[in-house]
């Protein structure tokens, strides 16, 4: 891996490492707005970058917090959660079409959940542990795990309908 020599390079390395998790969170939590919000998230992170580097906060926790605040702001302005249809690269072949349909159904099923349940599942989709999810939502590790169980069962029930 190349050594970062400037703040821009260091930040882009951070982007390459963390963007998949942030985008995964936003795809599950915000649907079609995910890319817009991800760009805003990293731009805001860039502006706060010197302050962040002087701290010892976990990077993913910091980025997800920024993404979450931006998503909440956007939804609050619209007064609703975003609609979800989302697809993969349209250039992808037919062999992945069935998988894409499954993914779209799964993500669309998130729409049926309450916003806080959807957000909890989105954080898990971004690879956060229950302890990290709890830290974001102001819950204990055990409480976030229980809440996740309830949300996942509700999602499963919807998919089985």
């Amino acid at each position: 891996m190349s050594a970062a020599t400037s703040p821009e390079e260091a930040f882009l390395e951070l982007y390459d490492r963390e963007a998949p998790a942030v985008l995964a969170y936003l795809r599950a939590a915000a649907g079609d707005d995910a890319e817009d919000l991800a760009a805003d998230t990293f731009l805001r992170a860039w502006r706060q970058w010197p302050a962040y580097r002087a701290s010892d906060r976990p990077i993913r926790h910091w980025l997800i917090r920024i993404a979450r605040n931006l998503a909440i702001d956007r939804f609050r302005r619209r007064g609703r959660m975003a609609v979800l249809p989302l697809g993969r690269d349209p250039a992808a072949g037919d062999d992945v079409a069935a998988g894409v349909v499954d993914r779209i159904q799964l993500l669309a099923a998130l729409e049926t959940l309450a916003p806080e349940e959807r957000e909890l599942l989105a954080m898990r989709a971004a690879g956060l542990s229950f302890a990290e999810v709890g830290a974001h939502l102001g819950k204990t590790d055990a409480a976030s795990r229980m809440a996740w169980h309830r949300a996942a069962r509700r999602l499963q029930a919807h998919l089985e309908r």
Binding site: A39, A51, D102, Q156
Partner: protein
């Protein structure tokens, strides 16, 4: 209970959700491309307006307009001679970019001469140079709304009128953004594959007439997971193209190269206008200023004297009714007899 205590069915759902939400490389690259453009203009640690600034600014602007409207009404109803500033309507400047200062200052001298002729009522006689105003072809920063002028200010024994006009023409300048990524078990093979694709993209752009100097590799990096023996090479290129048709051709050519992701952006005000176009707009703005000054003076019961000063602003971009546009602004100050 630990991470693995969830029952197997829900664990599968958890995994499926992660897989469903996992972004593809094209999405990551698209966001990266947008971010690259922003990093250059937003320094780390840069000051940022809080999200509620628009409401505060709108409130302040409304209050200022009410106050100034009142002042203007008082001034027009009985302006005592010899008093200082009796009324001012301040134009919210059609502000936008202070960019390309070299180009802007280059245009300023003929602009002022042109404006003087137009304000005095004479047709512009300056020969058309036909040359483009020098300046970088970067995407402009679009500022405030264009709906700021015309405005008129009484200033002591003078009257200042400001007119604006949009600058016509100039081909849109677009950028084709290309990302190339290759993953494999061998780092050097991944790098070679990416370099080959870059060469193919350059060839494709060259064939549709994009000069090599307009194509830049803005980013190239490799990274790897040594344990997993998985290496990736990633590069992004930008090609600057002038004209809508040329941009479409370049984008189409790039998309025919296998294994690349590309998208294009363009702006109708990214290209620089010719000096002719700027001068034409300045003439129209100056004529508008003159008309406004005349009609306001008549309404106020005063007569205009000689032109005391003319200030022509270099072109700036702002948000018009149909998107970004480039405008010029001319302020002419007349003596009042």
């Amino acid at each position: 209970m630990n991470e693995t205590d969830v029952d197997s069915e829900l664990r599968r759902l958890d995994g499926a959700l992660r897989e469903a939400a996992e972004p593809d490389a094209a999405a990551v690259a698209r966001v990266r491309g947008r971010l690259l453009g922003s990093l250059a203009t937003a320094p780390p640690g840069g000051w940022q307006l809080p999200p509620w600034w628009r409401y505060a600014a709108a409130g302040a602007a409304a209050l200022a307009l009410v106050l100034m409207g009142g002042l203007l009404a008082i001034a027009l109803s009985g302006r005592p001679a010899g008093q200082g500033v009796t009324a001012i309507v301040v134009p919210p400047a059609a502000n936008g970019q202070g960019s390309s200062t070299s180009g802007a200052s280059g245009a300023a001298a003929p602009v002022a001469g042109d404006a003087r002729a137009a304000v005095a009522g004479a047709p512009t006689s300056q020969a058309a140079s036909g040359q483009a105003v020098a300046g970088p072809a970067s995407m402009p920063i679009v500022g405030n709304s264009c709906s700021a002028s015309p405005t008129v200010q009484f200033q002591g024994r003078g009257l200042a009128a400001t007119g604006t006009a949009s600058v016509a023409g100039s081909d849109p300048v677009g950028t084709v953004n290309v990302t190339v990524q290759q993953t494999g078990a061998d780092a050097s093979a991944a790098v070679s594959a990416v370099q080959s694709k870059i060469a193919a993209v350059r060839d494709a752009l060259g064939k549709v007439g994009v000069p090599p100097g307009s194509v830049q590799v803005s980013y190239f990096r490799t990274y790897g997971d040594v344990q997993g023996r998985q290496f990736s090479a990633y590069a992004s290129l930008q090609a600057t193209v002038t004209g809508t048709d040329a941009l479409a051709e370049a984008t189409k050519a790039v998309l025919q190269v296998a294994g690349v992701t590309a998208y294009s952006t363009s702006s109708p005000v990214a290209g620089q206008p010719t000096q002719d176009q700027v001068q034409n707009a300045v003439g129209r703005a100056a004529a508008q200023a003159r008309d406004m000054a005349g009609s306001t003076a008549t309404a106020a019961g005063v007569k205009l004297g000689d032109v005391q000063s003319i200030v022509a602003q270099p072109p700036v971009t702002c948000n018009g009714p149909s998107g970004p546009e480039r405008v010029v602004q001319v302020t002419a100050t007349y003596a009042i007899r």
